[in-house]
Structures are given as C-alpha cells and as structure tokens.
C-alpha cells in the first residue's frame, strides 16, 4: 500500500471486518463499486440465460420448449432485470469507483447510505427472481407493466411492484449521493467545466433519476391500489383511464432511456481521447448537448404511445420533440469522430468497444428516428423493428460502453493488465454475434413480426434462426469476458500508474491498484 493509504485520521480505517462482513458493512466507495459491478455481471448472466431460452423457443415456428405463459414471464423478467439489474447497477458501480477518483474526493459524500443503496438491490433481485417459484409464476405482463393486464395477475405482480419501489429507493439514494459528491467534493480548482465528461454525464443522469424514479413509484403505487385497495385510476368504469398509466409510466420511461445511455456517453468520451491521444473535441458542446438531451427527454414520452390514441396535435408535438433530440445526439457523435480525426490512434480493447459503440449506437439512433415518425410508428409499433432498435441502443450502446469501461479501468482497479488477446477475441465475437442477433430483427419487424410472441408465421423462420444462432455466439462469448476478469484479478502483467499512454485525469495519478483510501487530502487542480 502507498503512503496515501497510511495517512488515515484518528477515528480511522483500522480494524475492518473481514470475510462476508467486510462486504455487508463496507462504507468504502471502491468496495461498493465492486459489489455493484459483480451484481450487475451475475444479473447479466441470469437475464442473458433468459434471452437464450427466448431465442431457443423462437428458433422454429410453433411451440417447442415451453408454455406460452412461461415465455411471457421470460420476456418480462429479461427486460426488468437487464434494465434495473444490469445496466443501471453497472453504471452506478462505475460512478462509485470512478467519481471520487476523478474529482479527487476521499469517498462518496454519504458512505453508509451508499452501502444501503447497493444492498437494496439484492432484496429486489430476490423478490423478482423468487416470483418464478410462486403460484402463477413470475410477472408476464411485459416490463412496462401496462394495465389492465398487470392488474389481473397474481401474487408475483404485487411482489414486482414492491421490488420496483425498492429499486427506486436504491436509485434515488444512490443519485442523491452521487450528485452531492460531485457538487460538494471536487478537489480545489476542479471547476464544473473542467470535470471529466464521465462525471458530467453522471451529474445529469443523477438529476434525471431523482426527477423520474419517484414518478415511477407513483405509477406503480396506483397499480398496487387498483389491484388491492379498490381504486379506479386505470379503470374507465370508475372514470379512470388505462392510457393514463402509459403517460405516467413513460414520463419516467423516456428519461430512463437516457439514464441508461448518458453514462455510456461519458465512458466513451473518456476512452476515445485517451486512445486518440488528443483532448476531447468540443468539450463544452458535449456538456451542453448532454444537458439538452436530459431536458428534452422530459418532453418526448408519448412517442412510445402513438398507436394507443391521442389527439393529432399531441402526436405532432411528440414527433417533432423526439426528432429534436437527434440534434444534441448528433453533436456528440460528430465530436467523437472529430476527436479521432488526425489523432494517433491505437486499438486496444477499450477503444475497439468505444468505436463499435459510436458506429452501432448510431444505427440504433437512426432506427429511433424512423420510429419517431408517427405514421411510420403506427406500422412498426410492437414489432421486431422496435426490438432491434432498442437492442442496438442498449446492447451495442449501453452494454458495449460498460465493457469498454471495464477494460479501460480494470488495470487501475486490479493493478494488472488484462490479456489483450482474450479481450480482442471477446470484442470480435461480441460485435459479430450482436449484429447477427439484432440486425435481422429489423427485417422481421418491417415484415410485420410482432414482438413478445412465442410463435410466428412460417415466412419469418430464416431470420429467426439466424438471430438465434447469433444469440448463442453472443451469449457464450461473454464467458470469455468472465474468464478474463477473473484472470486479471488473480494476476497478469503489472499495470503502471498511468496505465494508458494518452490517459488524462486524476484517477491516473494514484497507484495501480488504487489503494483502499485515496485523496484523503484533496489534490489541487490547476
């Protein structure tokens, strides 16, 4: 351990519990960051297995492997877990590890609350996964929880509602912690407009979470009372409206989409300059673009609902506001490309994933623009085109950025370099596998194959078989990632403090591996 680690204060850091108690009681941002990331990885394999079951059933038309209701349970839980159990915890894990290191803070602002934010997630996980074994099985109403279907389900539906409450609690506490850390604990001299982009994107993401998670809590509370306490929020016989749920849900749901992608933008904005050996092009415009996306995200929610019925004026408004988001997003994509322009580029695994992110996320962005057009969307609503769209954004977008970030910072966290050959193998198998799964889905959707259906018409067979083969390639290549991470933790070439030649920022000034306590005395940033 370095000198920095010995400089502890009197009520200090000695006598840490060991074993399981260390992880249950920890108040250290690095421990908690690791917990988040491991939780996310376990859930990735859990929800990924569900995806493989779904793809297996869809390999051929007709019913082969499972009861249709179990298929619906799988699609619902796959969605809920991937969003709330994989992508969000992974980004929060990055925030825990990196935000204090990048702003020169000794830890998060509220270390005990930080622990609770994490340890609520396994609670929600137990409730969600446990419901598979309850009478009636897990929820099968889709991750969006639309009434009236969601009001008619059994005991697991209530359990899921409460799990969503608990995950919301975790997100709100986590976000308050992150936002406070960023606003109050930056090293002297680190002004807002000098912050690394990753910190900026998390500041804005935390704001979005605090603004929208309570709205989701309100929506599912109404579901709960409609189910159990006789209210009529979503029942027209009582003067309510089932479509109202969709409005409230998507008021949360659309900002949630940006919650899932803004930290990805941040990670990529750290990686591309490092491996281009140039500062980020258009830093200020990146900040403003991120903020614009966040503000606009509150005005676009009903583009998820073009087919349910809405006044034409509202359809037009939501169509144009949605297209407007392409402007700041375009600013970002062009800035990343301009950062690489005339840079001296090298292609280590983090950079490969970052470049794949820029290309493939842009495809997802474009199909999003197609879906933004109300007349087109009425054709494509609830088809595989939508599935293709959001998997390009969430798999090759959010998930790839998470891989990129892991490869980028793993040497700092473990003190060892990962195996570059394994990393590149993981990258190529992932990027090829991912495109084999999801690209044909565009064609399936355009041809009219509906989503969330365990059976389909014969003419969709070939593309479905291609997608299923791709899914198994993509799914099993993630085992390479698991092996790589375990090997890197156990050993490997010693990483230097700087790790990457072109890396800039405070996190590279501390030793590799980063000592248990860093920046107990704040560094000064000029």
């Amino acid at each position: 351990m370095s000198d920095a680690a010995h400089a502890h204060d009197d009520h200090g850091h000695h006598a840490h519990p060991t074993g399981i108690m260390r992880w249950l009681t920890t108040t250290n941002h690095k421990d908690i960051g690791s917990l988040y990331l491991w939780f996310s990885l376990i859930m990735l394999f859990t929800a990924g297995s569900m995806a493989l079951l779904i793809r297996s059933e869809l390999f051929e038309p007709g019913m082969q492997l499972m009861h249709p209701d179990f298929f619906n349970q799988l699609t619902t839980m796959h969605g809920l877990i991937m969003i709330f159990g994989v992508i969000m915890p992974a980004f929060t894990g990055f925030a825990n590890w990196q935000v204090p290191l990048m702003i020169g803070a000794p830890d998060m602002a509220f270390p005990r609350m930080n622990n609770w934010s994490f340890w609520l997630l396994p609670v929600a996980g137990i409730m969600l996964l446990g419901s598979f074994w309850l009478p009636g099985g897990a929820v099968a109403g889709g991750w969006t929880m639309y009434p009236p279907l969601f009001i008619q389900g059994g005991v697991s539906y209530d359990l899921t509602i409460l799990a969503v409450h608990i995950m919301g609690l975790s997100s709100i506490m986590g976000s308050i912690n992150i936002i406070t850390t960023i606003l109050n604990m930056r090293a002297p001299g680190l002004t807002l407009m000098k912050m690394p982009m990753f910190v900026w994107t998390w500041l804005i993401t935390a704001y979005l979470l605090i603004a929208t998670m309570p709205v989701l809590a309100g929506a599912v509370t109404m579901l709960l009372t409609d189910r159990n306490f006789g209210t009529h929020f979503f029942n027209a016989a009582g003067g309510g409206d089932p479509v109202m749920f969709q409005h409230i849900f998507w008021f949360f749901g659309h900002p949630e989409v940006y919650i899932l992608i803004l930290p990805a933008f941040g990670i990529v904005s750290q990686i591309i300059p490092t491996f281009s050996r140039k500062p980020l092009f258009g830093y200020a415009s990146m900040v403003y673009a991120t903020a614009s996306i966040a503000i606009l995200s509150f005005t676009v929610w009903a583009h998820h609902m073009f087919a349910v019925g809405m006044p034409v004026a509202a359809q037009l408004f939501f169509m144009f506001s949605t297209m407007l988001i392409a402007v700041p997003t375009g600013v970002k994509v062009f800035n990343w490309v301009a950062t690489m322009w005339k840079g001296s580029l090298t292609f280590e695994t983090p950079m490969l994933f970052a470049i794949a992110f820029v290309c493939l996320f842009t495809i997802g962005g474009f199909s999003g623009l197609v879906l933004a057009m109300a007349p087109v969307d009425i054709q494509l609503q609830d088809t595989y085109y939508v599935v293709a769209h959001f998997h390009y954004v969430l798999v090759s977008g959010a998930l790839f950025s998470i891989f990129a970030g892991i490869y980028y910072w793993l040497p700092k966290w473990t003190g060892h370099m990962y195996n570059e050959t394994l990393g590149k193998t993981h990258f190529w198998l992932s990027v090829i596998g991912m495109n084999i799964v999801f690209f044909p889905m565009h064609f399936l959707g355009l041809a009219g194959m509906p989503r969330r259906i365990p059976d389909y018409a014969l003419q969709f067979t070939e593309f479905n078989q291609i997608a299923t083969v791709g899914a198994f390639i993509f799914g099993f290549s993630q085992l390479i990632f698991l092996v790589l991470v375990l090997k890197t933790i156990k050993g490997g070439a010693k990483a230097s403090d700087q790790v990457w030649e072109g890396a800039q920022g405070l996190e590279w000034t501390v030793p590799s591996p980063a000592p248990y306590h860093t920046f107990e005395t704040a560094p000064v940033v000029k």
């Binding site: 308050i176 003067g239 109202m244």
Partner: protein, 288 residues
C-alpha cells in the same frame, strides 16, 4: 477550501445498519404481499419488518446524531447534508407530481372524453362526464357520493398548517439567538399544530367514509382525493415525528446557533409539506 489535517471530510466506519434496513424492507415487502393476499400471518410479518425498520432508524440516526454532537461534521459535511436534503425534497415533489398529474389528466382530459364519443352515449346514456365523478360504470351501478367541501375542516387545516410554518420559523429564530426557551416553545407549538391537523384529517376521513359515501373506491374522484390527501397526511405524520425528535433533542441541549442543520432540514421538509397542502386545498378541495 484546502482541507487541513484536522479538517477532514468525515468518513464513517463500516456499519451494520444498512443491511439491517435491507432485511427490514424485504420482510415488509413479503409481509405486505402476504397480507394483501390474505395469507396467514401476513400482517405479523409486515409488522415485524416495520419493527426492524424502526430499530434500524433508531440505531442509524442515533449514530449520526452522536457523530454530529461529537463535532465530526465539518463545514463540507454540513454542505453535503444541505445538498442532499434539497435533492430529497425535489424527489418528493416529483412523487406528488405523479398524483397531481393523474388528477389533471383525468379531470381535464380523460373524464370529458368519456362523455364525448358515440359509443359512450350508447353505453352510458345518462352519464354526465363532469368532475367530480365516480365514472360511468360505478355511477350506473348506483354508487353515490358527496364531494368534500373546502370551507369546513379543510379550511381550518389550512390555517393550522400555515400557522405551523410560522411557529417553526419562530423556533428557528430562537435557536439562532441562542434563546433555548423560544426554540422549545416554538417546536412544541408546531408539533401541537401538526397533531391537531392529523386528528382533524382522521375525523374528516371517518366522516367521508361513514356519512358521505366518499371512499377510496368512489371512482377516480375518490382515488385521487384519498391518495393525494393520504400521502400528504402520511408526510405530515413523518414531519411531526421528526419535529418531535427535534423537540427532544432541543430539550437535551443539542444544536448550537451555528450548527443545527438537522433542525433546518426538518423545517425545510415541513415547509414543503405546507406547500403541498396549499396546492391540495386549492386544487382538490376548493376548485371542484
């Protein structure tokens, strides 16, 4: 703000309280679901979870209070608490926004739609799509209710809560002048006003259920009325509890004129609850 060796940001020791809180919430959720589905002992499991949660809050907040009284929180920690309380209140605003949104959406859009189309005319020819309503189906089934009148108990409650905003500020002035008596008196009056408010609201609910046919099940009017005022009432209950803790701490000699953010946080929360009430009074009770 270069931090001297003696002025470090306080980093707490590893703590068991969060995981106890997680166990509490898991027990509460499982118990709650059991109770809702009338599975044996569900209520007891729920209450056991609540008990563990209270135990956790006593322990955790007690630790924070001891840390604070031991002077471990410097200016920067104090500033963290200020930021976090502001953001927490913002999250509460958004929670209420969801229910106010439901109120506006039904009142302004979806209830009028129920009276517009030909299908509706065919299905429910006698239904008048005007607020307040229990909806076409329930009305046809013979459900009748009287909407809540603003100028009775609700107006008195408005007066009570607005006065309590004044008394809590007066208590704060006392604290800042080191006038302990004014602090305790002001807090005592605020707590009393909060308790009277809650008693009157309980009476109002009882009256609504027994005399007016106004229940949680009275269509979308009943649902929005009880969920909005009910969540507000719950917040008053939490606020009053926090004020009582502040009162006990004031009597125990905690807080100084310079260092008393816990008190300020509670008063921020109390003012927030106050503002929500004013909105409720105008939009739910008054403008029917």
């Amino acid at each position: 703000m270069s931090l001297a060796q003696t002025d470090k940001y306080y980093l707490p020791q590893p703590s068991l309280w969060p995981i106890i809180g997680s166990v509490a919430l898991l027990t509460m959720a499982v118990g709650g679901v059991m109770a809702m589905h009338e599975i044996n002992h569900g209520l007891w499991v729920l209450l056991a979870g609540v008990a563990v949660l209270f135990f956790m809050m006593f322990g955790w907040f007690g630790e924070v209070i001891r840390d604070s009284e031991a002077g471990r929180y410097n200016k920067q920690v104090d500033s963290s608490y200020r930021w976090s309380m502001s953001w927490f209140i913002f999250s509460e605003v958004m929670f209420f926004a969801a229910f106010f949104g439901a109120l506006f959406y039904t009142r302004v859009l979806s209830v009028p739609w129920l009276g517009e189309s030909d299908t509706m005319q065919q299905l429910w020819p006698t239904f008048k799509a005007a607020w307040p309503t229990a909806g076409p189906g329930l009305t046809a089934d013979g459900l009748k209710f009287t909407p809540m009148e603003a100028w009775g108990i609700p107006a008195i409650n408005t007066l009570l809560l607005l006065s309590s905003g004044v008394t809590v500020t007066w208590a704060h002035w006392g604290l800042k002048k080191n006038n302990r008596m004014q602090l305790i008196l002001g807090l005592g009056m605020t707590v009393t006003l909060g308790v009277v408010f809650l008693c009157l609201q309980a009476y109002e609910y009882h009256h609504a259920y027994t005399q007016m046919g106004l229940t949680l099940g009275a269509g979308v009017y009943g649902a929005t009325f009880f969920m909005l005022t009910g969540f507000h009432g719950f917040h008053v209950l939490v606020g009053t509890t926090m004020l009582i803790v502040m009162l006990l701490r004031s009597i125990a000699g905690h807080f100084t004129a310079e260092h008393h953010f816990a008190f300020e946080a509670v008063s921020w929360y109390w003012h927030f609850v106050d503002v929500v009430w004013v909105l409720l009074f105008i939009l739910v009770y008054w403008l029917i």
